[in-house]
């Protein structure tokens, strides 16, 4: 199951400089030493890679007008990848008849100080463990090749590439922690002032990273990554037991880009009243009919419906659904709509994009990848794992610390050549509702995330949680806020229902989870009108609402 939760990332570019630092030197020395030692041996590693991620972070949270915590951390981790065999068939090849943890890398903490001999010793220990596992695994891979039927897509396991060199860094960030602590105290106090709120918090997270990729092919990358998120969350339980929560956030790449305090105070107050409105709203009902997805919600829809299904490696794994594998060159959307994924974009419509990077976790330059062009399906997001008809990486090999890279989304952008104003989309929605003889249609404003299943064992379906939805009545009654319903469906049917797009691109920055872990990305889309989409009741908690009043309210006694 692949899911999208809410987190952040921002990154800035920098001037290219030849990588020359202790980390690069120590890691490269150990790679060279290892390859030399294995020369002439049976089943030596033919490829070694070490990623190092150094993180300085600040995490500051307030609850109920007080400071929950304020932490500063500094750490380094290494992830080692080893390939045994050859690029046609190697130790990373998917096993078809047994489950294993092949996506987990050999990962460990490194010292945060630049002592080359200690760094090299630590990398040695991780590399040794990785070689041992790779040599065990290649035996199983070869065994399956003999015993099992031929695979549908016998593409190579690894694409040869030229080495890349890059070095870049950002000036060290030095946040005014006391001021930020004061800010989250104040904002959390505003959230708590809503007497209906049971739990609430305001938080700011600052992550400043330097990421290295060093490979036996000679790639030497050092690049920075910075993300800053201000977030607010409020939760309460409705009378029927449903947990109702709202989480809103803003991602910036510089603390100076945060809105003024007064504006943040208004956001907090607004979130609190929106929570109250949701608590009082009726629970939605299962529904099938026209749906208008507003910008950010449309971005998440595209991410779940198309995005995960165009990740290249899924097209050759035998347990994957391969929804789009045979649709290259076929029309799957209106001709006015195109979709591409571009990690080189830093901003869109004035918003910073989470999925920006210069090089992916395989050390490959991020490139724009066309997915749908004028409604016609064009291709896939590629890591260095080739698939039939697509041999080369387009710089989408991504992973979190502790995982090996696979093809993943970065900045997924939906564009239209026929943008329609909001009022026109609403008019089209109501017209479609009437045409179908339904009492109402649905506008989805705000999403909390979603997930999709791309495999063959479970239904090849998606689920997108709508935290704020409105019923738009055909007879002109006022719009009605509803809670507790999810968008559900299957990908090809859902795409066939897209009939129009808006002129209001919305940016959804988040973190996406899949087999290579949680990676930052963005989905950008104008509002999308679908002639038919299904909604189902969301999972509902069963605990009774609080038995006694909040202690600071009448009925409490403070």
């Amino acid at each position: 199951m692949l899911c999208w939760s809410l987190l952040i990332v921002l990154s800035l570019g920098g001037e290219p400089v030849a990588p020359d630092d202790v980390v690069t030197t120590a890691v490269a020395a150990e790679i060279d030493r290892t390859l030399e030692a294995w020369q002439g041996q049976e089943d030596p590693p033919y490829f070694l890679s070490t990623r190092v991620t150094e993180t300085r972070s600040w995490s500051i949270r307030g609850e109920y007008g007080a400071l929950s915590y304020s932490r500063a951390d500094h750490g380094r981790r290494a992830d080692v990848a080893v390939r045994v065999g050859d690029r046609h068939r190697d130790s990373t090849h998917a096993l078809r008849e047994r489950w294993d943890r092949r996506h987990r890398s050999d990962s460990g903490r490194l010292i945060v100080e630049d002592v080359p001999e200690v760094l090299q010793h630590q990398v040695w220990a991780l590399t040794d463990r990785a070689i041992r596992k790779a040599r065990e695994r290649i035996v199983k891979v070869r065994g399956e090749a003999v015993v099992l039927v031929e695979e549908t897509d016998p593409s190579d396991d690894f694409a040869p590439v030229a080495a890349h060199l890059w070095s870049d860094e950002l000036p060290r960030i030095r946040p005014d922690v006391a001021e930020l602590e004061d800010m989250v105290r104040e904002l959390s106090g505003i959230l708590h002032a809503g007497t209906w709120t049971e739990y609430s918090n305001a938080a700011i997270d600052i992550v400043d990273q330097t990421k290295w990729v060093v490979t036996s092919e000679g790639t030497r990358i050092r690049q920075p990554r910075r993300w800053i998120r201000l977030s607010m969350n409020a939760e309460a339980s409705a009378e029927d037991g449903m947990d109702v929560d709202l989480y809103r956030w803003l991602d910036v790449d510089d603390l100076a880009d945060l809105p003024p305090r007064a504006e943040l105070e208004r956001w907090a107050a607004s979130l609190s009243t929106d929570l109250r409105d949701l608590l009082e709203a009726p629970v939605g009902a299962p529904y099938s009919g026209p749906v208008l997805l507003r910008g950010r919600a449309a971005g998440v829809f595209v991410h779940e419906v198309i995005g995960h299904r165009v990740e290249g490696h899924r097209q050759k794994e035998e347990d994957e659904g391969r929804t789009f594998r045979e649709l290259v060159g076929e029309r799957i959307l209106p001709t006015s709509i195109s979709i591409f994924d571009d990690p080189t974009l830093q901003t869109w419509a004035g918003f910073d994009l989470n999925g920006h990077y210069r090089f992916d976790e395989e050390g490959m330059p991020g490139q724009r990848a066309s997915i749908v062009d004028a409604g016609v399906f064009r291709g896939f997001l590629m890591s260095r794992s080739p698939i039939r008809g697509f041999d080369d990486s387009n710089g989408h090999g991504r992973a979190q610390v502790g995982r090996h890279p696979v093809a993943r989304m970065a900045n997924t952008i939906v564009s239209t050549t026929d943008p329609k104003p909001e009022a026109e989309l609403r008019r089209l929605l109501v017209a479609e509702v009437r045409r179908q003889g339904l009492p109402y249609g649905v506008i989805v404003d705000e999403l909390a995330g979603g997930f999709t299943m791309t495999g063959r064992v479970q239904p090849n379906a998606f689920n997108v949680r709508a935290s704020t939805s409105w019923r738009i009545y055909a007879d002109g009654r006022p719009d009605e806020l509803v809670r507790g319903i999810d968008l559900v469906g299957t990908p090809l049917t859902a795409l066939q229902a897209v009939v129009a797009a808006g002129d209001d691109p919305g940016v959804f920055n988040g973190f996406c989870g899949a087999e290579s872990g949680s990676v930052p990305n963005a989905a950008v889309s104008p509002s999308l009108l679908l002639s038919r989409l299904e909604m189902q009741l969301e999972e509902k908690e069963q605990a009774r609402p609080p038995l006694i009043a909040r202690p600071d309210l009448p009925g409490g006694d403070t």
Partner: protein, 546 residues
């Protein structure tokens, strides 16, 4: 029945007027008075443990820092009991993860209203879980019967006491980093020996309050240096050692030079051990347990069996731990002349020292074994079929059930032999068995490892030496225990000098003082072959390439 008892007036400080604790007490009282699900019991008892601590932590490896942090935290553990003292929701379920018991990180600001809000939300949630658990437990008792189970809870005196602050030495992170670098540099000349040095310095205060009226608090002071080292042989055997220097303040542990000397010696012994050939023959004969080895012998085989809390009652009926068979009072567990006492305040320089346990009960001096005969168990407020009342040994992390646990255990023998006489006795026994040497166990591993072939309650020796009468020593590897359990302790034939070590389980420390002891006969058997793997290349520095 409730009591009001003021203890140890010489130790009590000014009255506890902490407004955050006041808020916790007020909210617990409100919850006990008002919480009520329809047709369900209200809580009959609620306890909260509050930790307010500043903790600094450093890890270093081979002379460089891996991580360091220094942060305040405030944590609240809570326990909600529904039913009555004969049958309630606690100590029941699938594991020790008991419904009604939990914890929550509180705001670090000393804000009574914010803390009270968290207490409100979490205790109410725990109450709802507790009601559900009790309903299931009653059904289980109706189905499977309740004979043979002890009561759920016992009474304890109401205590209100505030132990005055000890001198407070604030953590110095830079100094800790320097210390950790220096100590961990002891590994640098030994590429095959891996290891870390961890320093923890915590200062603060802890409170225990309950709805019976108990409100106690005492300082938290912990300064611990841990050296962890491990290596793997070419035939796959892995050895692990840990050395701990523990006090309540930095000046209560050995000086850095002494720590360094001991660390260097430890690393060198482990490096030498790696070069040994594995023993292939079983061995039967006298075994001398020395230092760490003696402490762990008593800890693992005896002290663990003195903990009086019954295991969890299962939803399927019966106990979760089928092997639970507490040592029965008035039966022999050690040879004549041996005594075991737990005095939680025996040495107030130890992090294991405490005035009040996690249930707010004053830690009592407990005579556990007299002249080799078991007298009682270590007890929390959860009774067993042999012992009813708490003796102030209910301790655990705040969000866990407060289970009976050792504090400061001292094992003594009425006849102590000098090392020379102890060895003479040992070699005499060896000669009777036709042996020219004895085995000496100086330490055992952290826990048993699957596949070691160990059929004993004591982990495999990590430092084992063949000792000859002329004083020659020959380190041994590849042997583990045949059969060794609590009954084996009755075969102790002599005792020597005492040693003291600090052991821990999560954040709960215990101190064990025990003498070297000689077992007349124990069996050591070869371990089954491990998976072989020779690293290629060896570590940097091992092959002259670096």
């Amino acid at each position: 029945m409730r009591w009001l008892l003021l203890l140890c007036p010489g130790l009590a400080g000014a009255a506890d007027t902490d407004p955050v604790v006041d808020a916790v007490v007020a909210e617990l009282a409100r919850q006990q008075a008002e919480l009520a699900l329809p047709d369900s019991d209200p809580p009959y008892f609620i306890r909260a443990g509050l930790y307010r601590v500043r903790t600094a932590y450093v890890r270093a490896s081979r002379g460089a820092v891996v991580t360091s942090s220094d942060r305040p935290w405030q944590y609240l553990g809570h326990e909600v009991r529904v039913g009555d003292t004969t049958l309630d929701n606690t100590n029941f379920g699938w594991a020790r993860d008991i419904e009604g018991i939990g914890g929550v990180s509180l705001v670090v600001d000393l804000d009574p209203a914010a803390v009270r809000h968290d207490v409100w939300a979490h205790v109410e949630s725990a109450y709802k879980d507790a009601v559900g658990a009790l309903a299931v437990r009653r059904a289980v008792r109706r189905t499977h019967g309740g004979d043979g189970f002890p009561d759920a809870f016992t009474s304890a005196p109401v205590v209100r006491e505030h132990i005055a602050d000890e001198p407070r030495v604030e953590p110095d992170l830079a100094a800790m980093e320097a210390h950790a670098r220096t100590l961990s540099a002891a590994f640098t000349g030994h590429p095959w020996v891996m290891g870390n040095v961890d320093l923890t310095h915590a200062v603060g205060r802890r409170w225990v309050v309950n709805t019976e009226g108990t409100r106690v608090s005492e300082p938290v002071r912990t300064y611990v240096v841990e050296v962890t080292a491990w290596t793997t042989t070419a035939d796959g055997e892995r050895n692990w050692r840990m050395m701990r220097f523990a006090g309540r303040q930095p000046d209560q542990v050995p000086a850095l030079a002494q720590q360094l000397a001991q660390t260097e010696a430890l690393v060198e012994r482990l490096a030498d051990w790696r070069e040994l050939e594995a023993e292939e023959e079983a061995w039967l004969g006298p075994v001398l347990f020395e230092a760490d080895g003696a402490v762990r012998l008593f800890n693992d085989l005896l002290v663990e069996a003195l903990k009086g809390t019954p295991p969890v009652e299962r939803e399927q009926g019966g106990y979760s731990d089928r092997s639970f068979s507490p040592l029965i009072p008035r039966r022999r567990v050690l040879p004549e002349g041996f005594a075991v006492v737990d005095d939680p305040r025996g040495d107030m320089t130890r992090p294991s020292a405490y005035h009040f346990d996690g249930e707010g009960v004053a830690g009592e001096v407990v005579e556990l074994v007299r002249d080799g005969v078991l007298q009682t168990h270590l007890m929390s407020r959860m009774p067993n079929v042999h012992v009813q009342g708490s003796n102030g040994h209910g301790r655990a992390d705040e969000d866990e059930p407060q289970l009976a646990t050792a504090g400061q255990i001292t094992v003594t023998a009425d006849r102590v032999l000098s090392r020379r006489r102890l060895l003479k006795r040992a070699f005499g026994l060896a000669a009777q068995q036709g042996l020219d040497h004895i085995m000496v166990v100086r330490s055992v591993r952290r826990t048993g490892v699957r596949g070691e072939g160990n059929d004993s309650d004591l982990p495999t020796p990590s430092e084992l030496v063949r000792l000859y009468a002329d004083g020659r020593e020959q380190p041994v590897r590849g042997l583990t225990w045949g059969t060794l359990d609590t009954r084996s302790l009755k075969e102790i034939v002599a005792a020597g000098d005492p040693h003291t070590r600090e052991l821990s389980w999560n954040s709960v420390y215990r101190t064990i003082t025990a003498p070297d002891v000689l077992l007349a006969e124990a069996e050591l058997v070869p371990m089954p072959p491990a998976e072989q793997w020779v690293p290629m290349p060896g570590p940097p520095g091992s092959d002259g390439s670096e």
